[in-house]
Symmetry: D2
């Protein structure tokens, strides 16, 4: 082997997905972050030998991110990151610098009837895209389908899942209060051409959002069906409406090993439930 | 070889990126679509032999999408797709069905001072994410950086690029009227901790949007600098502000071979210009 | 509300990441799958009412995928999916059809010295890309950096992590036998221009792969350093070599609630550890 | 406005997709790069004023990347980047540094019968993934489909497209020699269960690759059909085979404005043709 030495080195955790609900009475704040941590310092023994005694596991960095999210308000992200970096310096003697970063994913309160300041616990992220799809054949009218995609919604209460079928592989506990989050994909067909395809789309979206926000959800299936009924009620020219609703699970982090309560969630990218259904006029 | 026959088959074009500006006086509408086309029918000779006489090139499908976008209003996407499907059936005798689809990417008018109904030609898509970044070291204050990412903006006029350096590989024509589109990534440092990091962020965003919307852009560089000046003027605690601005090129489609004018653009994913710069207090 | 009825509907689980190690003496087989499940049938009560009694949770579908992966050989993916679909039909009376799908991610055995049939427990996926980076300045030689990216490696044993720093937020258990998987990103600088930049790249890759495959890894850090030493020994013109090694965690699924043992792992996309370091000539 | 000054700044072009064919008799080398360029220097007048006279357009950077790819061998990527950076410094007086980077996407020669050193002009990139899909119903055998996805293939000659249907929107020229590139997605059904599903997959892949490499392609459709026939001939238990073949267009860069010939191509991400078809036993 050549004569070598260890140069600059660092380690950390990337992509810590973290959500938190802060409740002020009935009015909730929903924080949705992706956090990363990177430690610089003298960790040479871990590199040049088999000595991990200077290395705090990156798994612990993740736990620390969750615990501090429970302990602190998250409105001022910078203060949370300062506390996170300070904590890591305090428990890792070899660290000379802690770099902490976050992307805070923006959510807006849903505007629904009777909630002048926005809904207390239902939110939308970003702008949905419109979709349209036409099948043209000779000597017959074109089949037109219209839709919405990427209508990203979340509610921090008013959702549960209980009374489900179980078998010996079922470990999921029942719940009467969970986060429900999805990205609505909707497509509808037409009884007859409407005055304006474009004008119907916000009516559909408003109907879906109203149901999502204001109705208790005993399952994604039930919310899907109620949203379909609302769409058919709102736009008389629509014949059928189909939904694909991914269930973007928010998993409550178990903070009891750390002596904390607090509504902190992790948000895995995969796997996710996918609920599909069509509601038609009878 | 085994005895075989051709079963179901189809072909088409996927991912046709298409933007269009419709001008009603000074007030512009900005359409931004991704279109796809799929033809079913009896194209067997192209598969089983070397006979392409039934196959309209997918390149022509793309041209057709552009030409019809020039010819038709795009507000009712479904009508545009009907026309596109009908056209393809009319020129492809072997086709029995044309499936046309579009995703319409949503843009909202910017809300800037003096434009009660939204800005006439400046738009935002979606919701920007907040970013924050902290470097903690022992025995010294943490370095805090705050930012925005994914602030996606477009304006359909009020932008040009001329008087640039040229060499023998330069073929870009000068222009005094082009689409300017970007996804702002901004990060700022602090002279001193503000009362609220979170409260400063919408002030920064509003300053950037105001400059983007209301000031003629002779280059991305110039817009970057003016936005930086506006940020420093708006938030006195900010020390420096850095931007990374991808130049999301909108390339005017040359419709003259088809006898059309019309402001139809294609939007390549890559390559793109990337303009960076920091503005500091003197 | 309009008179409506429920039409076609289905539900399931998408994106179940699943790895399995099958050991035949020292020679391991590494299976890496992404599975999805979709049930059709009469689940109307879940949609039209609040009655979940026909719905097996999608979380249970995931558990079932893991349990059957433990129970069955995975070489014939189709037989595993048949069993998975059959099982779900057997426990969900309302289901009329179960659609099960898998993508099997391909891994090749590493070719290292002394292993004529490929390494018994070290694998590579796909083809790495080469990278190059040059900084040119006036009146001085260009700075050249060469690299590799996307060199995706896994080993199913010969890796552990123990003796690490702990605090009260540490819950990670020590291990002497875990899966180690990463996508190597390497970049090196040059003492002097080599005869061929291109010819050096496979020498670097072989050195990295040899270390990865044949040396016990007490930490990612240690493997990084040993790989760096091997690179500097193998190519005398290289001055320094830097690595970024994401730790693609494979989490052993706890099958004890289901009365199974078996080495089944889940593979979260995020978060992941990221280990960086540079090795230089002394 | 506050008193400000311009700090660090830079600009350039990201994501320049570039392929090149180098012919040594019948044996071709296929280079596939993504290049980026970044200039540092004193470009202040472009930022603080409306003066673009120091700014070479990023569009010219792209042209320069193409022209130099035509002029130089690409085997030593580093030397190409040095030339690119040097050229940009020479024509941009304000630039003090040019950073040039490339990712070189790896392609391996196909191993087909009668080509002991690999095929002279047909290539594969990476490792295909296996797919499997099963529909289980009560009281009837499961329907099994097997497949391949991500089998990325290219050939640098032996492909053309001519004699096609035209209309007044057709501008595509006929060609008898073009690059053909695709990522094969194949799925097949079974007459009866084979001895091994897994063992059939490499037989299918080899049949597809042999057709792709050795048979002149008058269209993607024709290659699809011939590949289907070869699959049915190779595996007697297969009933039908369906393909989805994206046509990853390689567009020859017109270098005549720059006085160059040379086979340099650009590779747009979108749009792309998509050719589908099923071949069945008669």
């Amino acid at each position: 082997m050549a004569e070598t030495r260890l140069g600059a080195h660092a380690y950390g955790k990337v992509g810590i997905r973290l959500a938190k609900v802060e409740r002020a009475g009935d009015r909730h704040t929903f924080h949705d972050l992706t956090v990363q941590v990177r430690l610089e310092g003298d960790f040479a023994v871990a590199y040049t030998g088999a000595d991990n005694s200077t290395s705090l596991p990156t798994d612990t960095m993740r736990s620390t991110a969750y615990v501090l999210a429970a302990d602190l308000p998250l409105t001022e992200t910078e203060r949370y990151l300062e506390a996170l970096g300070g904590r890591l310096l305090s428990v890792v003697p070899a660290a000379t610098a802690a770099h902490t970063e976050a992307v805070v994913h923006g959510w807006d309160r849903l505007a629904v009837s009777g909630a002048p300041d926005g809904h207390p616990h239902a939110f939308r992220r970003g702008t949905a895209d419109a979709t349209a799809s036409v099948t043209s054949r000779r000597d017959r009218p074109a089949e037109v389908r219209s839709g919405l995609t990427g209508l990203t919604l979340a509610k921090t209460t008013g959702s549960g899942f209980a009374g489900f079928l179980t078998d010996e592989f079922t470990v999921l506990p029942e719940t009467g209060d969970r986060i429900l989050a999805t990205a609505v994909e909707a497509e509808w067909t037409w009884l007859r051409p409407p005055g304006s395809y474009a004008a119907a789309r916000p009516v559909v979206q408003a109907a879906v959002e109203e149901v999502f926000a204001t109705r208790y959800s005993p399952s994604v299936q039930s919310t899907l069906h109620a949203a379909g009924e609302a769409v058919l009620a709102a736009v008389p020219e629509i014949a059928t409406v189909s939904f694909r609703l991914p269930n973007r699970h928010h998993i409550r982090v178990d903070l009891t090993p750390f002596g904390r309560a607090g509504e902190v969630f992790t948000v895995p990218d995969r796997p996710y439930g996918l609920i599909e259904g069509t509601v038609e006029r009878a």
